[in-house]
C-alpha cells in the first residue's frame, strides 16, 4: 500500500515539476532569445524578472475569453484540454533517478515501469495532434485550419522516422522497450549516443518536429498564418496551448536524454553508490538527469533563435526523403552488426 502512496506523491511531484518548469521555460525562452540577440530580456517583475511567468499567468487568466460564435463550442474547449493532457501523460514512463529506499523497501523513481515504455511515449505523442487538429478545425478560421492540417501531416510524417531511429537503439539495448532497462544499460559513460550517433541526430530532429519548434514551427508560423492553429484562442485556453508546447519540450528533452544520453547515469555513479546513502545518490542522479534535461531545453531554444523556418515542401522532403531512408539504413546496419558481431 505504501508503494501506492509513494507513487501518488511521485506523480504529484512530477506534475508540479512539469508545470513549474514549463512556466519558467517561457521565461527562459525570452531570456535566451534576448541574450542571443544582445538584449537583456524581461527584468522588471521581481529580481531578474523572475516573477514574469506569474505575471504572465495572471494576465492570461484575466484576459477576456472569446469563443467564436460560429465555432463548435465543445470541440473548441476540448482542443486545448486534450493537448495539455497528452503533454502531461508522457512523463509516466520516464525513470527519474536511481531507486530510493525507505525502511528497507525499494521505491523506483518511475511512475510506471511498463515493458512497452518507449512505445507508450510514441503512442501518447501521436495523440497530441488531436488537440491541435480539433482546436484548429473548430475555430472556423482558415488560418487555424491550415495550421492544424500542417501540424497533423508534419507529425505523422516525422513519427515514422522517430520510431525507426528508436528501433536502432532497441537493437543495441537487448531488445527491451522499457525505458528503465534502456537507461540501466547505459551505465557510466556508456551512452547510446556514442554507439548510435545517427539515430540520436534523427531522433533529435524529429523531436523538434513533434514539438512544433523552430525550424519546424509551420503549424503556428506567425509570419504566414497569424497564429496558426491557435489564431482564434484567447485567455487561458491560448495559455494552455502555449504551456503544453513547453511541457512537450520538457518531456522530449527527458526522453532524448534517457534514450541517448544515459538518463540519470553519469560517470562515477557506481562509486557514489558504495560511499553515500542510497537516497542521497538517488537525488544526485535525479540532479544529473535534470541537468541534461535543462541542457536540451536550452538547446531547443538555442536552435530556435538561430535557424529560420523551413518551407513546407522542404519539411516534407526532409522527413520522407532524407530522415526516413537514413533511419531505415541505420536500422539495417545496426541489425547486421548485432547479428554478425554480437554486442
Amino acid at each position: 500500500m505504501s508503494v501506492l502512496i509513494f507513487k501518488v506523491i511521485l506523480i504529484v511531484i512530477i506534475f508540479l515539476i512539469s508545470l513549474g518548469l514549463a512556466a519558467y521555460a517561457t521565461y527562459g525562452e525570452r531570456k535566451v532569445a534576448a541574450f542571443l540577440q544582445d538584449r537583456i530580456g524581461p527584468d522588471r517583475a521581481g529580481p531578474f524578472g523572475l516573477l514574469q511567468p506569474i505575471a504572465d499567468g495572471v494576465k492570461m487568466f484575466l484576459k477576456e475569453e472569446i469563443i467564436p460564435t460560429v465555432s463548435d463550442k465543445f470541440l473548441f474547449i476540448l482542443g486545448p484540454s486534450l493537448f495539455m493532457v497528452t503533454a502531461l501523460m508522457t512523463s509516466a514512463v520516464i525513470p527519474w533517478g536511481t531507486p530510493m529506499e525507505f525502511g528497507g523497501v525499494t521505491y523506483h523513481l518511475q511512475v510506471a515501469d511498463i515493458n512497452i515504455g518507449i512505445l507508450y511515449v510514441l503512442g501518447v505523442v501521436s495523440l497530441g495532434v488531436y488537440g491541435i487538429m480539433l482546436g484548429g478545425w473548430s475555430s472556423n478560421n482558415k488560418y487555424a485550419l491550415l495550421g492544424a492540417i500542417r501540424a497533423s501531416s508534419q507529425m505523422i510524417s516525422y513519427e515514422l522516422a522517430m520510431g525507426m531511429s528508436v528501433i536502432a537503439v532497441l537493437l543495441i539495448s537487448d531488445g527491451s522497450l522499457s525505458l528503465n532497462a534502456i537507461v540501466e544499460g547505459q551505465k557510466g559513460l556508456n551512452w547510446n549516443v556514442f554507439y548510435q550517433p545517427l539515430a540520436a541526430l534523427i531522433f533529435i530532429i524529429t523531436a523538434f518536429a513533434e514539438c512544433n519548434r523552430t525550424p519546424f514551427d509551420l503549424p503556428e508560423s506567425e509570419s504566414e498564418l497569424i497564429g496558426g492553429y491557435h489564431t482564434e484562442y484567447s485567455s487561458m485556453k491560448l495559455g494552455l496551448y502555449l504551456f503544453a508546447e513547453y511541457i512537450n519540450m520538457f518531456i522530449s528533452s527527458a526522453i532524448i536524454s534517457s534514450l541517448f544520453f544515459g538518463g540519470y547515469n553519469f560517470p562515477g555513479l557506481e562509486y557514489l553508490q558504495t560511499v553515500l546513502p542510497t537516497n542521497l545518490v538517488s537525488l544526485i542522479s535525479f540532479g544529473a538527469f535534470f541537468t541534461k534535461i535543462l541542457f536540451f531545453i536550452f538547446f531547443f531554444m538555442w536552435v530556435r533563435w538561430t535557424i529560420p523556418r523551413f518551407r513546407y515542401d522542404q519539411l516534407m522532403r526532409l522527413g520522407w526523403q532524407v530522415l526516413m531512408p537514413l533511419a531505415i539504413i541505420n536500422v539495417l546496419i545496426t541489425g547486421a552488426v548485432v547479428t554478425f558481431f554480437g554486442n
Binding site: I40, D43, T306
Partner: protein, 177 residues
C-alpha cells in the same frame, strides 16, 4: 557597365555534398549565436541608467537667469523670428519700479511659450538670442497624456534660482563667447 566595385556576381552553383548536409552550416550558425550569449548587452535599464548624451545634444529648452537671479530674456522676439517651426510666442512687458531684482533689463517677457510639439530642436533660437537667455539642454521633454500640456510656459521653462540648469558644456562646445 560597372558603377562600383562592390557588386557581387550571383552564381547559382550546385551545392557540394557537405553543403547539402546543411549540418556544418547549422553548427556554424549555432556557434555564432552562442558567442552572442556572452557579449555585452546593448540594452540600458532606462529609468535607472540613462545613456550619456553628446555635449551638443539639443533637448528641452531653458530660460536662463543671471548670477543675481534675474531673468535674462528681454522679449526681443529674435528667437521667435529665427524659429523655423514657429513654435515660440511671447508677450513683452515693461519692468515696473521695484522689479529690478526679477528682470535684468527694462523690458521682459510677460508670457513666453514654446509649443514642444511644433519644436524641431534645431537650436536656432539659441543661436539667435543676443542675451544668453535661451538654451537647449540635455533634459528630455517628459511625456504627457494630452496635447495641450505640451505648450510650455515660463513656469516650466525658466530655471529655478536655487536649482540652476548647467549649460556650461554646451557653451564650451558650441557657442563662441
Amino acid at each position: 557597365m560597372q558603377l562600383t566595385n562592390r557588386s557581387k556576381v550571383v552564381v547559382k552553383k550546385e551545392m557540394s555534398f557537405v553543403e547539402k548536409l546543411y549540418l556544418p552550416a547549422i553548427f556554424s550558425g549555432l556557434s555564432i549565436t552562442i558567442k552572442h550569449l556572452f557579449k555585452k548587452k546593448a540594452t540600458l535599464r532606462y529609468p535607472e541608467v540613462t545613456r550619456e548624451f553628446a555635449p551638443v545634444y539639443r533637448g528641452m529648452h531653458v530660460l536662463k537667469r543671471d548670477e543675481q537671479g534675474r531673468e535674462n530674456c528681454t522679449a526681443c522676439g529674435l528667437c521667435a523670428v529665427a524659429c523655423p517651426a514657429e513654435a515660440i510666442t511671447m508677450d513683452a512687458a515693461e519692468r515696473q519700479k521695484g522689479e529690478e531684482y526679477l528682470y535684468r533689463e527694462e523690458k521682459y517677457a510677460a508670457k513666453y511659450e514654446i509649443n514642444m510639439l511644433r519644436c524641431i530642436y534645431c537650436g536656432l533660437c539659441e543661436e539667435a538670442c543676443p542675451k544668453d537667455a535661451i538654451y537647449l539642454t540635455d533634459r528630455i521633454v517628459p511625456s504627457e497624456y494630452s496635447r495641450g500640456k505640451f505648450v510650455f510656459g515660463k513656469d516650466v521653462l525658466v530655471e529655478n534660482i536655487d536649482e540652476r540648469i548647467d549649460i556650461s558644456k554646451r557653451k564650451k562646445s558650441y557657442k563662441i563667447d
